[in-house]
């Protein structure tokens, strides 16, 4: 996959995982919005989630997940958006922001917005992780044997 496609993928990923509030805040930076139309109106549907036996083995179908998606067009560029659950608004906002990344005059601003989104998420995950790490069991009587035979 070339660099440009990879960047697009990372962008769509980041927008999918952003919260509704974060997306609403992000889109506000682009007001007034350029005119846009839907290639695919925001809609929700189901994807069957696959996993692997033992984490590494054969594929199996675990169960389904509800997601939303949307495709918009603005200034001749397409934007693809996804969101968890039945959340049409988030899917639409994600699609618009993805589209702005393709529009030359808006791309820089979008980069900055994305960086802020990612930083916010990282901070949140980091705080969660620290809290969870505090519940790590410490065996004071034994060496933590990462490289010793178990």
């Amino acid at each position: 996959m070339d660099l440009e496609l990879n960047a697009r993928r990372l962008r769509v990923d980041a927008l999918s995982l952003a919260t509704r509030e974060d997306l609403e805040e992000a889109i506000a930076a682009f007001a007034p919005l350029p005119p846009f139309s839907y290639l695919r109106e925001p809609e929700s549907g189901i994807v069957m989630v696959r996993a692997r036996v033992g984490g590494t083995g054969k594929l199996f179908n675990l169960g389904e997940i509800l997601i939303s998606r949307c495709v918009v067009e603005a200034r001749g560029k397409l934007g693809f958006g996804f969101a968890a659950e039945d959340d049409l608004k988030s899917a639409e906002l994600a699609a618009l922001l993805d589209c702005f990344g393709e529009i030359a005059s808006l791309a820089d601003k979008l980069e900055a917005v994305l960086r802020a989104l990612k930083a916010k998420r990282e901070r949140r995950l980091e705080a969660e992780s620290r809290k969870i790490a505090k519940t790590q069991v410490e065996f004071f009587t034994l060496a933590r044997g990462d490289d010793e035979p178990l």
Partner: protein
């Protein structure tokens, strides 16, 4: 035979009105919100998603509310709602090793790489009611003490007064303190790798086959292991728990060790045709349990066998039971003989789905007037003509929905 029955509309309408009244309860108690159910009765929601086989936390919370906390009814509601959405295809395989863990323990190694992480667990907690969580102090307090100690526990800064409920979005946890310090979690390699390295454990590898999907068609027994895992992932937790217990009590023992149990969040990737590459579309929580079970010879090179349990959401008890039952169902594969119910594939997989079970058991309460009248007149005629060969009920005449 179908016999039309008319009437009852008024009674049914009134029953529904009464149901919504009962659901709401006394009006002087604040109505519970979807967000409160999602976050404060979270494990009920997780169970509904796993057995409803649809990961949709907000809808599952609504189902719990609508079902008045009857989880099997909520699971039924979620399954029914599932049918109203279009299906878009299959995700990329989850990478459970990359899950952002919130709990990870092992019953086989106390210091496995990455460590044991207890997370928010009921383990080691006193299984005694914590009256501090209750609404009302159990007894009046001496005067003067009452002001500070009116039993609501510590108030998180910014939290509303009780009764002023506010929806919280996923990820926003009430008790989050932004200034949390200390190290964050390390990467957590799969525990099974320790044994795999020495060749002491069966390996799992991908044969590139497209797995069957029980939601799209029916399959004859025996099932493949993949189909069994799909079926068990949506099976009733109580049913699996009892079956797992039965194996421990000797009805098809599997001698399990929990190599690893983890609960964490994974990304769900979906190959979008319009993009031509997979993208992350959402995250979901999963509970994964890997057991290491009694070893089997393999040309003089015995190896541990494995059981695997994977469930959507935070469902530790179910994942554990699932891995044990999954291993028990592999009895024919290891020529262990089918000695207990948990090893009987047709028995386990045909009866584990609580939506199916609920439906068929419940239909007995629906009108069977004609069936019953037939039995009744048969019985009467047998009594009038003694010496007949009657031995009780006639042929099972239960055509579906017969009146």
């Amino acid at each position: 035979m179908y016999v039309a029955v008319k009437g009852g509309e008024k009674a049914i309408k009134s029953a529904h009105a009464l149901l919504s009244e009962a659901r709401r309860g006394p009006l002087d108690i604040p109505e519970i919100s979807q967000g409160q159910i999602r976050h404060q009765l979270g494990l009920a929601v997780e169970r509904v998603m796993a057995e409803g086989s649809l990961y949709a936390p907000k809808l599952a919370a609504l189902a719990v509310k609508q079902a008045r906390g009857d989880l099997v009814e909520a699971i039924f509601l979620l399954r029914a709602t599932r049918g109203t959405f279009p299906t878009w295809g299959y995700s990329e395989p989850l990478d459970s090793s990359a899950a952002r863990a919130k709990r990870r323990i092992s019953g086989t190694w106390k210091d496995l790489p990455g460590g044991q992480i207890l997370g928010a667990t009921f383990d080691y907690s006193h299984r005694l009611l914590d009256f501090e969580l209750g609404d009302v102090a159990r007894h009046s307090r001496p005067l003067g003490e009452a002001e500070e100690a009116r039993g609501e526990g510590p108030r998180v800064p910014g939290e509303r007064e009780p009764g002023q409920a506010r929806e919280r979005e996923p990820g926003e946890t009430g008790a989050q303190e932004p200034g949390e310090t200390g190290p964050s979690l390390e990467a957590l390699p799969r525990a099974a790798r320790i044994l795999l390295g020495e060749g002491l454990l069966e390996t799992e590898s991908d044969d590139g086959e497209t797995p069957g999907d029980l939601t799209r068609r029916t399959y004859p027994f025996p099932y493949s292991r993949e189909l069994r895992l799909q079926s068990l992932a949506r099976a009733d937790e109580g049913f699996l728990l009892s079956l797992a217990y039965s194996t421990q009590r000797g009805f098809g023992s599997t001698h399990p060790f929990v190599a690893e149990l983890r609960i964490g969040t994974v990304k769900v990737e979906f190959w979008a045709p319009e993009l031509g590459f997979p993208v992350t579309v959402a995250e979901m929580e999963i509970t994964e349990c890997e057991t290491v079970n009694q070893f089997r010879g393999n040309g003089g090179r015995p190896r541990f066998t494995r059981g695997y349990g994977l469930v959507m959401g935070d469902n530790e008890r179910k994942a554990l039971a699932l891995a044990m039952v999954e291993r028990a169902l592999r009895a024919p594969e290891y020529e262990e003989g089918v000695k207990g119910p948990a090893q009987d594939e047709e028995f386990v997989l045909s009866h584990g789905d609580n939506v199916e079970a609920y439906g068929f058991v419940s239909h007995v309460k629906l009108p069977h007037y004609v069936d019953f009248q037939a039995e009744l007149s048969l019985l009467r005629s047998l009594r009038e003509n003694p010496g007949g060969t009657g031995d009780g009920f006639g042929e099972e005449g239960d055509g579906d929905g017969a009146l």
